[in-house]
């Protein structure tokens, strides 16, 4: 019977080493999720002011940019987090047509039309939602379902 027990332990060890040794993705990070949710709210609030002169809101814009770049850096340094890091990179790329692209256009044009701002806000909100949904998907499933 002891031999059978040792065999079972070996089985379990081999299975765990083989299957758990290579996680495909970063674990859920509550701080990262809350930070993304907060940045979404901040970004949309700043975008709301884009019908006014850029210079009047320069400080809030620069603060937002710094916070987004910080979130991007953190995402980049989490292991197995490539997709989230690439999502932040799109939002933070002034050459793309997401948050930083919008801020760049605001800076260049001085101020933007209300219709354009409303539509662009929808796109940036969708971008943040994609980041939030991916982070949420990293949560472990609820306990209680055990194999029999």
């Amino acid at each position: 019977m002891r031999g059978a027990g040792a065999k079972a332990r070996n089985w379990a060890l081999v299975a765990i080493a083989t299957l758990c040794g290579c996680a495909a993705r970063a674990p859920f990070d509550r701080e990262a999720y809350l930070e993304a949710a907060s940045l979404k709210a901040q970004a949309l609030a700043v975008m709301d002011r884009a019908t006014e002169p850029f210079a009047r809101h320069r400080e809030a814009i620069e603060q937002l940019e710094q916070s987004v770049l910080e979130a991007q850096r953190r995402a980049l340094h989490r292991p197995h987090n490539e997709e989230s890091a690439r999502q932040w990179a799109i939002l933070a790329d002034p050459e793309r047509h997401s948050l930083f692209g919008f801020l760049g256009r605001w800076k260049t044009q001085g101020q933007l039309d209300a219709e354009f701002v409303a539509e662009a806000k929808g796109l940036v909100a969708e971008g943040f939602d994609a980041i939030l949904e991916l982070e949420a998907a990293k949560r472990e499933p609820r306990a209680g379902r055990r194999a029999r």
Binding site: A15, A24, F116, G122, E126, E133, L134, A147
Partner: protein, 108 residues
């Protein structure tokens, strides 16, 4: 909105031809990308073309928004890829539990 319907039909046809011409040999993948883009974009395009026609959006605004939608589609694709990995991890975790439970049941 009859004019939007015509615009949409022409756009779908033109994009299909564009995919065939630009990605010879990868037509199926290109078509899938285009279909994903179109299915996510139709409602927005309908609104944006109305705003463009009324002068509420400029040509540059319209172009920026379409490019922005392309970025949203890419963000969504990255989400799907990441969610797939998360599902794979959950599958692996469940597999471990099954293997361990089966081993204990068989040998202990």
């Amino acid at each position: 909105m009859a004019s939007f319907r015509r615009f949409w039909q022409e756009l779908v046809q033109e994009l299909g031809a564009y995919a065939e011409a630009q990605w010879e040999g990868h037509g199926a993948a290109a078509r899938r990308d285009i279909e994903a883009f179109l299915s996510r974009t139709r409602g927005d395009l309908e609104r944006w073309t109305t705003l463009l026609a009324s002068g509420a959006l400029t040509r540059e605004d319209f172009e920026w928004l379409v490019l922005g939608k392309r970025d949203v589609v890419e963000l969504a694709a990255l989400k799907r890829k990441g969610v797939g990995k998360a599902a794979l991890d959950r599958f692996r975790a469940g597999l471990v539990e099954l293997v361990v439970t089966a081993a204990f049941r068989a040998f202990l």
